[in-house]
């Protein structure tokens, strides 16, 4: 018997050719137009990014005086050396971003997976209300929380610390909502067999549900890390001292400090982008795998 495939559709995943595509009956001209338009669009995305990479290896003089020649002349690491010299501690910001991203991701995985297990697999009093309230908050615009949470974070003494940019952010409804969807789709038979063998809820959660949910957990981890890494408004207001910034508000600082030193600002943008682009490349595959491997045979 084949159980239904748990839904783990995410922002970056598209069902891989669930059904055979309908036969193309295009004229050659239509085919050419199709590829030309898609390629032009792809270039519109890629060219600015390549331009940024190349500009980060230019001298200021070069960047300003020959803006139409993308090739650095001379090729220089000046921008990176200036950043490394530490006047604006960008490598510290990098570490801050990394630490905050990892901490928040771990927090979300732990709290959301445990909570989602209860919502998906247990019957209990108040379940509908709890779930309803959680889902309802998905629809509330984040600005509502801005000022009250600022005051909470301030009264906890967390302003200008890593706690401010990790703890409040791990309280959102998305993670628990996402994992619940996945847990609900797991076949009940596995769990019932374990229960007959005398396994308790914690063992079922830890030894059966979590291992079966690795793809969903990985996807949630990637999404959570990206969100934290890219967060901008909140850190702009709760991080105060230069050495406690993360990369995103740090880039705004760089832009202010080196407004016409384009090489330096672009080098900073590159440093902030490389980790997420790498993660994206890896996660694309992971997400495809999660769809492919989530069919559970019962």
């Amino acid at each position: 018997m084949t159980a239904t495939i748990p839904r783990a559709t995410t922002t970056a995943s598209v069902p891989q050719q669930a059904q055979p595509r309908r036969k193309a009956r295009r004229t050659p001209v239509a085919t050419i137009v199709l590829y030309v338009v898609l390629t032009l669009l792809a270039l519109a995305i890629v060219v600015p990014l390549v331009w940024i990479v190349l500009t980060s290896f230019k001298t200021d003089f070069d960047a300003i005086n020959t803006p139409l020649n993308p090739i650095p002349h001379p090729f220089t690491l000046n921008a990176y050396q200036t950043l490394a010299s530490g006047q604006q501690p960008i490598f510290l910001w990098f570490l801050n971003s990394l630490a905050a991203g990892v901490l928040q991701t771990v927090l979300i995985l732990i709290t959301a997976s445990a909570g989602a297990y209860a919502l998906a697999r247990l019957e209990f009093a108040g379940k509908k209300i709890v779930f309803g309230v959680i889902v309802a908050t998905l629809l509330v615009p984040p600005v509502i929380f801005l000022i009250p949470n600022y005051l909470t974070v301030q009264s906890l003494g967390w302003l200008d610390s890593i706690w401010a940019i990790t703890i409040p952010g791990s309280a959102g409804a998305f993670g628990i909502f996402f994992l619940r969807q996945f847990f609900v789709g797991l076949p009940p038979e596995i769990e019932e067999a374990a229960r007959m063998d005398g396994a308790g809820d914690f063992r079922i959660f830890w030894q059966i549900v979590l291992p079966l949910s690795r793809p969903a957990l990985a996807t949630l981890a990637v999404l959570s890390f990206l969100n934290n890494w890219n967060d901008f408004l909140w850190p702009v207001y709760v991080l105060l001292s230069p050495e406690h910034q993360t990369l995103q508000p740090g880039l705004a600082v760089l832009q202010g400090a080196y407004s016409t030193h384009f090489g330096i600002v672009m080098a900073g943008a590159l440093i902030a982008s490389v980790p997420v682009l790498i993660l994206f490349t890896i996660a694309q595959r992971q997400i495809v795998d999660s769809v492919a491997s989530s069919g559970v045979k019962g």
């Binding site: 970056a12 940024i52 984040p142 509502i144 000022i147 952010g169 901008f232 832009q255 384009f262 694309q284």
Partner: protein
């Protein structure tokens, strides 16, 4: 922010999951019949870590914000006097300290939303329809189109601030080399600043909508297209008679999410135009954050955030009704 999504323009959650649950929540099966014994204590033990965070940073602020909005809440003052609805009333009294700036920022948010949403729907729809054809390298194109979305708004902002710099930027130099005007004030004057903000947002987030719409297109049964072909329908006819109706739920979801994301725009203006010239591109979120956290007018700012919430809620409801009515007719 207490939401695990970017607070900037394009805060979105995976489409199908949210849509599925909102639609199917009442219909979801009650887990494994009535024979299962309730385990309320265990369940709340599992939920406890999440619920503690959720109560402190989501539920409590949603309510305490209302309380704050009823006060002149300035953390620099010795006390926070209760003023009732004054902060709300002020927003609707012309000439008060806040109403002019607030409604200007709301208007700016409206301009941005109205200008950006059509592009953020039509371009991804066309691109998704193209990617849904039988082509080589479809996954590569999809990956490229989506890639900018994983960059933070700060990265996107500083990149385009440089490229669109009126004097030194690449874009104006390219235009000049093509014999076009090379002195366009992309980031310093309206309406150009709006064009820049919309363009940059489309560049940044187009791939996100494309991926959702593409998934929607793949969900439309081939049989419908074949049946339409047998009836002699051409490409356009098929698009309007098969594709659009089949895509309706996904399209409705994408429309709502895109409107809300555009209405929450912050980072692009903050980095590209600094809200200028003057305050011409300062959005509601920018004004609320500045008023509450830089000017310490927390009561007034809280009141504004609830008014913004209310406006967005009304728009969402109207949008939802319109979609529903259309699907009934």
């Amino acid at each position: 922010m207490p939401q695990p999504r970017p607070t900037s323009c394009c805060s979105r959650t995976p489409a199908s999951t949210v849509a599925d649950t909102l639609v199917s929540a009442p219909a979801r099966r009650s887990a494994r019949g009535g024979g299962v014994r309730r385990r309320t204590g265990t369940a709340y033990l599992f939920l406890a870590p999440f619920l503690v965070l959720f109560c402190v940073f989501v539920l409590y602020p949603a309510i305490s914000g209302l309380w704050i909005s009823l006060h002149i809440w300035n953390p620099l003052l010795p006390n926070q006097p209760f003023v009732g609805l004054k902060n709300y009333v002020d927003l609707f009294v012309p000439g008060s300290l806040t109403s002019g700036d607030f409604w200007q920022s709301m208007g700016n948010t409206g301009i941005f939303t109205i200008a950006s949403v059509p592009f953020l729907l039509v371009i991804p729809l066309v691109v998704a329809a193209m990617l849904n054809q039988k082509i080589r390298g479809g996954a590569v194109y999809r990956g490229i189109f989506f890639a900018p979305y994983v960059l933070g708004v700060a990265v996107v902002g500083v990149i385009w601030k440089y490229l669109l710099d009126p004097q030194l930027g690449v874009v104006n130099h390219v235009l000049g080399a093509l014999g076009l005007p090379s002195d366009i004030p992309w980031t310093v004057d309206v309406p150009w600043a709006w064009i820049s903000l919309v363009g940059v947002t489309v560049w940044w987030t187009m791939g996100f909508n494309t991926v959702i719409l593409l998934a929607g297109l793949k969900g439309i049964s081939n049989d419908l297209y074949e049946a339409a072909s047998l009836d002699g329908a051409g490409t356009m006819r098929k698009f309007f008679s098969v594709t659009l109706p089949g895509l309706k739920p996904v399209l409705a979801f994408v429309t709502t999410v895109t409107i809300l994301a555009s209405a929450n725009m912050f980072g692009q203006s903050y980095l590209l135009t600094k809200g200028g010239p003057g305050h011409a591109t300062r959005t509601a979120i920018m004004y609320i954050a500045d008023e509450g956290l830089s000017q310490n007018q927390m009561g007034a700012a809280s009141a504004m955030s609830y008014v913004l919430f209310l406006v967005l809620a009304i728009i969402s409801i109207v949008n939802f009704r319109l979609q529903r009515d259309r699907s009934q007719s």
